[in-house]
């Protein structure tokens, strides 16, 4: 039993890192632009499918970078033409827009790549377990964790030490002042959106190794990622990081006793957090409370 609990705790951490990748992108966009991006799962699917199409030509490793970059370009185009128009309005408008975009993305991927699932396989030396006892730790999952670790570290360094990163953080706190100081807020928001979508595209490529590529693949990881943000606290990237890992572990541990509640448990956690501490575990006061 203890072994089962230990296994599932560790396994939950692995799942959690994946939620973190999605949730950080969502969080970036939400914090600076006030847009709840329901189409994030659609961008994830597009990232995975692009990698599937590109990998026969440029290989798995190059498509791991190229596919998220292309997805980010699509993100920029959509931000410039559609989402930008709704900044400053009630968040409900952008929520409805991205909700519609999510459906359009799903049907577009279906029209281009077909309704049938597609097999996307990472290099075979990655898709093996490290040992017989720890069969659930494959090299691929370790690789995924490493990529997420590097990306998260890179993101925090980027936000702390680069000019653009500092401006994004400043804009999150007080956009009006940042704008008054002569920063091009429109460009800032576009770049920030692109970074968020890049993370979604990367999550898509990584997910393609574990899951089959399907037009609906993003939808199943989107809700847990939102929950991660709410549990961690809107406005805090550290909170999002913590929230993602927390719900991953909680959902993994629940399968030890009540497998059918493994999905429900993350919503229970969200409900408890909202009741006891509406701003989230590490959230700033005032945004959600």
């Amino acid at each position: 039993m203890t072994q089962l609990i230990l296994y599932n705790t560790f396994n939950g951490l692995i799942i959690g890192t994946f939620y973190v990748l999605m949730a950080l992108g969502l969080s970036l966009i939400l914090n600076l632009s006030g847009v709840i991006n329901f189409a994030h799962g659609g961008f994830l699917a597009v990232g995975g499918y692009l990698a599937y199409t590109l990998s026969p030509y440029i290989g798995f490793w190059a498509s791991l970078i190229a596919a998220p970059l292309l997805t980010a370009c699509i993100g920029i185009a959509i931000e410039r033409t559609l989402i930008r128009r709704l900044y400053g309005r009630d968040p409900l408008y952008s929520l409805l827009l991205t909700f519609g975009l999510a459906f359009i993305f799903e049907d577009m991927t279906r029209a281009i790549w077909g309704a049938q699932g597609l097999p996307f396989t990472p290099p075979s030396f990655l898709t093996q377990p490290i040992s017989l006892d720890f069969f659930f730790i494959t090299y691929y999952r370790l690789f995924m964790m490493a990529v997420v670790g590097v990306v998260v570290l890179g993101l925090f360094l980027f936000l702390r030490y680069t000019r653009l990163g500092v401006r994004i953080r400043a804009g999150t706190l007080d956009l009006e002042t940042v704008s008054a100081l002569g920063v091009n807020v429109r460009a800032l928001r576009t770049m920030n959106f692109a970074v968020g979508i890049f993370l979604a595209g990367l999550a898509g490529v990584l997910a393609g190794g574990n899951l089959s590529l399907e037009p609906t693949m993003g939808a199943n990881v989107l809700m847990p990622s939102f929950v991660a943000i709410i549990v961690g606290g809107v406005g805090s990237l550290h909170g999002t990081l913590f929230g993602g890992l927390l719900i991953g572990v909680a959902s993994g541990l629940t399968t030890v006793w009540f497998p059918s509640a493994s999905e429900a448990v993350i919503y229970v956690i969200m409900a408890v957090v909202l009741l006891v501490r509406p701003r989230g575990l590490m959230g700033e006061e005032g945004i959600m409370s």
């Binding site: 309704a115 377990p129 659930f136 997910a207 574990n210 899951l211 399968t255």
Partner: protein
């Protein structure tokens, strides 16, 4: 002032409309009477073209379209052509019911076909029963459709979960042993198929454990950890569509294929095609398979589907194809498109081999309106030469044997007085 304007516009429009209607009536009326013999017979099809079951739903629609082409090229139903109207249920009960009502009330369809999702199919059946419209369920497997919730107007092409479970249970016990671990989706279909398998297993003194996984679970590692710690002779994977694909993909990556064999009821060709070659394994049932050397008529059907869709024919294509042909055959025999007459004609009607496309004769049995057709038991494998050759049939179980007597299905049919 503006009110007065409005009123005047309406009045002018009404005059125009009345004039147009009068004019049209004079010329159009004889035309309608003349054309009545060739008005198409409308068949409505409701299937989840978007959502998790989109791939299998599209196959069903493609199969149905092929049947419509064949029938229309061959004199139609009592001389009238068929018009197929397809609607998307989006894998949602409310949408499915609404689309069905629209097809019946607004489009005036004579028959309804649908849905892949058993829950949606059952809800649609309530509507078609209320409207007294003949309804064929091509691919919803829950036992209730031709069991406790059966209706006089509802017929089903695909197998019930009991049929699939009965056909494979003995094979799994013989091949692997009597200690099973279930990976089951947490909804009507999963519960129903697990119950059918458990019944057979316990009757032979086997033991089991299992986990119910919510639909759309992306990660199966914690379930597989549990399964492995139980140490079963065989892992029974009855997850559906994409969930089954994802769980098998992870099972293979974890190297479990070498330690714990896998089997179950359905592992549809659409799902097999979505997996990498090394993940195509295990013992399963197919409800129809394209490679049947003993049935000469199958080759033409496979070739026609390939020509139309550039894909291999799957059981889902066959479901759609059989649904339309059955309606046409029964309506031609009854010389009517009236649902009660067609339903009576359909009962125990033997499908000709070019429609049934199996070794034995397929028919909808009178007791519960379930199609009696062969169940193909065998083993999935990686592509051998032909990229579509992914399953080896070892045993063909006749439908009657798999289904058991109709009296046991719990179905009581009562026709309207």
């Amino acid at each position: 002032m503006s009110q007065g304007n409005n009123r005047r516009i309406i009045r002018r429009r009404q005059v125009l409309q009345a004039g147009a209607a009068l004019g049209a009536l004079q010329f159009a009326a004889p035309f309608i009477i003349q054309a009545r013999g060739e008005t198409p017979i409308k068949i409505g099809m409701v299937d989840p073209l978007t959502g998790a079951y989109a791939a299998v739903a599209r196959s069903e629609v493609e199969g149905a379209k092929l049947a419509v082409q064949e029938i229309n090229g061959n004199g139609g139903i009592t001389g009238r052509p068929i018009e197929l109207l397809v609607e998307d249920s989006a894998n949602d009960t409310g949408t499915g019911v609404q689309k069905t009502r629209k097809l019946i009330e607004r489009d005036g369809v004579s028959f309804i076909i649908g849905d892949v999702n058993s829950g949606v199919a059952l809800a649609i059946a309530q509507v078609t029963n209320e409207k007294k419209i003949l309804h064929i369920v091509p691919g919803g497997h829950s036992d209730a459709i031709t069991g406790s919730d059966c209706h006089w107007n509802v017929f089903r092409v695909c197998n019930s979960t009991v049929m699939d479970g009965n056909a494979i249970a003995d094979v799994l016990m013989e091949k692997f042993g009597k200690k099973w671990y279930f990976l089951t989706p947490d909804y009507a279909y999963g519960h129903s198929v697990q119950a059918a398998l458990v019944k057979k297993l316990e009757a032979k003194g086997g033991k089991w454990e299992g986990a119910l996984a919510p639909i759309g679970t992306p990660d199966y590692s914690s379930y597989l950890i549990k399964a492995k710690s139980y140490g079963p002779d065989v892992l029974i994977n009855v997850m559906g569509a994409g969930d089954q694909v994802n769980s098998i993909k992870q099972y293979v990556q974890f190297g479990l294929a070498k330690q714990m064999p896998m089997g179950g009821t359905l592992f549809e060709l659409e799902s097999v095609l979505a997996l990498p070659d090394d993940a195509r394994a295990g013992w399963w049932t197919y409800e129809w398979y394209w490679n049947q050397p003993k049935v000469p008529q199958v080759a033409k059907f496979v070739a026609d589907i390939k020509k139309q869709t550039n894909q291999i024919a799957t059981a889902r294509h066959w479901f759609g194809y059989v649904s339309i042909h059955s309606i046409a055959l029964a309506a031609n025999q009854a010389k009517s498109v009236e649902s009660v007459a067609v339903a009576h004609a359909l009962e125990d009607m033997k499908l000709p081999p070019e429609v049934g496309l199996i070794q034995n004769t397929a028919y909808f049995r009178k007791g519960d309106h379930q199609l009696m057709s062969d169940v193909f038991v065998g083993q999935a494998h990686g592509a051998k030469g032909n990229p579509d050759d992914l399953f080896e049939v070892t045993d063909v179980v006749p439908g009657e044997k798999a289904a058991g007597p109709a009296e046991q299905s719990g179905c009581k049919l009562t026709y309207p007085a």
